[in-house]
Amino acid sequence: MPSETTAREAGRGEGGPVDPAWPGQPEAVGTSDWDQDGLDTDEMIVNMGPQHPATHGVLRVELRTDGEVVRAARPHIGYLHRCFEKHCENVDYPGVMPYTDRMDYVAAMGNTLGFALTVEKLSGIEVSPYVQTIRVVMAELQRIASHAVAVGTYTMDIGAFTPFLHLLRDREKILDLFEWTCGARLLYNYNWVGGVSHDLPDGFVRATRDLLREFDSVTFPELLDLIIHNRIFVRRLSHVGVCRPELAISYDLTGPNLRGSGPARDLRKDAPYSGYETYDFDVCVGKGQYGPLGSCFDRNWVRTVEMRESSKILHQALDRLEKMERTDVHEKVPKRVKPPKGEIYFRTEAPRGQLGYYLVSDGNVNPYRVKVKSPCFTAMSVFHHLAKGMMIADVIALIGSLDIVLGEIDR
């Protein structure tokens, strides 16, 4: 069995000699998978370990470097694996919903939306336009918040500390809105099968409009001026991590990662759901303004301008909400969620890319199998390819530009 060749045998590790002060210590803990006999005398194996300020979670990247230049890179994931798919088989469908929140914990609204839509499509439930509009509003607010974190932490990795705090200040306002609606700031369990958990409170539309006004007029232009077009920032990123479109498609990069390389593919336009076909917005694509198309700068650029497009969608959705007739948000929520026997693969456009749920139902109250295709998992699979030949500082830039959240990769 291939996996039995454990790490202990695969390579002599960096654990060093056995420490007599540590009884029962396993030999060579935390070793390198690479065969260290074949190492050049110039090369070094550097471990950007699971604990690191810039790897956006518990990710371990093993780099084989020649000085500062990376010759090979190997990411190791699984430090945050929480057996999501096994849990799904033991709880009922409403019970699965909070687990989905916790996968991509930075953009939780998108996860519950995806799962709710998957079950609804399999069961044939159609929600009212009011609920659809609420879902769109929440998803787009979450997209702005998630991209704020992505761009903010990315600039912090590159060295500019201030835009991170400015963006987080605005994200706090969005989280206040979420708290007002459903009581939670980060993990909401908001989208249910057949509806949403709480109706919008009175005054929500006005509060959101105020937030958007400030965002459109102050935060977004400031962000562009201060950091995105900053010369140092551009020089760090514009020739780094260039991913050609064919490579991106083959390794299933989706969302801003794919759009940064050129193809204008957005699920909200290609396979719309929850009423997205009725909104007027553009698909943001990388332009290769400062270097080859598909660089880290382009991916980051797509995320930045997508915040503005989300704001556009939000304005339209809020206009509709004011005029729309309010229905009961729990109207179509079934007492017992029991989809018919069958299977479905349904995908939505989460802030990090295409989030897909493959659901197999055998007609019971518990799902038979839930497999999640997380966009960050596939984005990480191209990492070893892009990291060859770059410097260590660029590895940080690459990880940040792929915008990974380990909760989603490991589930």
Binding site: M44, V46, N47, H52, P53, A54, E68, T155, M156, D157, I158, G159, A160, F161, T162, L165, H166, R169, G203, D210, L226, I227, N230, I232, F233, R235, R236, M391, I392, A393, D394, I396
Partner: protein, 411 residues
């Protein structure tokens, strides 16, 4: 030295009879001790200032709890660091590990010996002042490399190597630029360089050979930023890449020593730049050099020399600019940093030395161009007016924002 001896004899008439070696030791040690004591209190203030300045730039408040407006924060931090366990990781070279912070501090504090705070307020007026500053400041590089090597940690080694490369590279343009005021004055002594700028703001070296000297000042400042590992050149301690670079493994008091050294180096650079270009302890208007005597009733205070205050103010504004830059700009990558040093700053420095040297040799332009006298005050006035204008606009904007927010709260 003579002045100190005269003062000592005045205080203690018995000192005239002491053995010469004791007298010499006292004369050498006392001013240096006084200077060192005064300067080592500096980091207390700088750290607090940095935290407050960075907080206001990032739209937050900074330390507010420890003491009124957080004024005692640094004291609390120092006490905490003193009580922390000084951890010696397994495998470190103990001797080098301990000596490294000492060396770095030596390189940071020793330059204060030659910095003139007044016409005769200088611990030692070496006639090779400038040369001494450059030479002794290079000791801190050795300390850095020792810290990186002794830590038995690949990241620290990376940080130390980067830092060595960076400091050595930027030393060259910095030293070249140092030659320029030296050429104009014809002496390496910092006291003579300051006296050569006597006569008010218009004779400061910043405005000589206009527009060449401002360029020289900027080059010196940028090169100095890189010497002290401040952003945008803080690659050696790039927090988000190498955790803390060469001082990753240091904790407790050793870390405090590195911290102290960094802020002291910043102040040293600013002080040297002020002495060389901004007139040192000279007041912008000669009449302000001595205040007094002031008679209130029968009490007569003064005359008080204000030289130390002017140097302190100038050094402090440069320190403020350094902090300002740190929290605004992202950081450059290592090879981009090297590019700036060797391909941008060094050519400019060489050209400047050659051109200014040529003009110094001509009797007609020995002290500067004919229009230099008229440049100083208008430029200074322009700068102050600009800052004032920006401040007024910022206050107006603040007031308007507060009104808007107040209007939004009432439903």
């Amino acid at each position: 030295m003579d002045a100190t001896y005269a003062y000592l004899v005045q205080l203690l008439p018995a000192a005239a009879g002491w053995p010469p070696w004791l007298v010499v030791a006292l004369i050498a040690a006392l001013p240096a001790l006084a200077c060192f004591t005064f300067m080592s209190l500096g980091p207390l203030v700088y750290v607090y200032a940095e935290r407050k300045i960075s907080a206001f730039m990032q739209d937050r408040l900074g330390p507010m709890r420890v003491g009124p407006y957080g004024l005692l924060q640094t004291a609390a931090d120092t006490v905490k660091l003193l009580f922390k366990e000084a951890i010696f990781p397994k495998g470190v070279d103990r001797r080098l590990f301990v000596i490294a912070p000492v060396l770095v501090n030596v390189g940071a504090f020793m330059p204060f010996v030659v910095i003139p705070w007044g016409a005769r307020l200088q611990p030692a007026d070496l006639n090779v002042g400038v040369f001494y500053v450059v030479a002794i400041a290079s000791l801190s590089t050795v300390g850095l490399i020792m810290a990186g090597w002794a830590s038995n940690n690949k990241y620290s080694l990376f940080g130390a190597m980067r830092s060595a490369a960076q400091i050595v590279s930027y030393e060259i343009p910095a030293v070249m630029i140092l030659l320029v005021p030296v050429m104009i004055v014809g002496s390496l002594s910092l006291h003579d360089i300051t006296e050569a700028q006597a006569g008010g703001l218009q004779s400061w070296f910043l405005f000589r050979y206009f527009p060449l000297m401002p360029v020289a000042f900027v080059v010196f400042f940028v090169a100095g930023l890189a010497e002290t590992n401040r952003a945008p050149f803080d690659i050696p301690e790039a927090e988000s890449e190498l955790v803390a670079g060469f001082h990753t493994e240091y904790s407790g008091f050793f870390f405090a020593m590195f911290f102290m050294a960094e802020y002291t180096e910043m102040f040293v650079l600013s002080a040297v730049a002020s002495v060389l270009f901004l007139g040192g302890y000279l007041a912008p208007v000669p009449a302000l050099q001595q205040i007094g005597p002031v008679t209130i009733g029968s009490l007569s205070i003064g005359p008080v020399a204000t030289g130390w205050l002017w140097l302190w103010l100038k050094a402090w504004s440069l320190v403020f600019v350094m902090m300002w830059l740190r929290w605004t700009l992202p950081r450059s990558r290592v090879d981009q940093l090297m590019y700036i040093a060797w391909k941008v700053l060094l050519p400019i420095a060489l050209v400047l030395v050659a051109v200014v040297g040529f003009f110094v040799l001509q009797p007609a332009t020995a002290g500067g161009f004919p229009w230099d006298r008229w440049v100083g005050w208008p430029l200074a006035a322009l700068l102050v007016a600009f800052l004032f204008f920006v401040m007024v606009r910022a206050l107006q904007w603040n007031r308007r924002r507060a009104q808007e927010l107040a209007a939004q709260v009432t439903p």
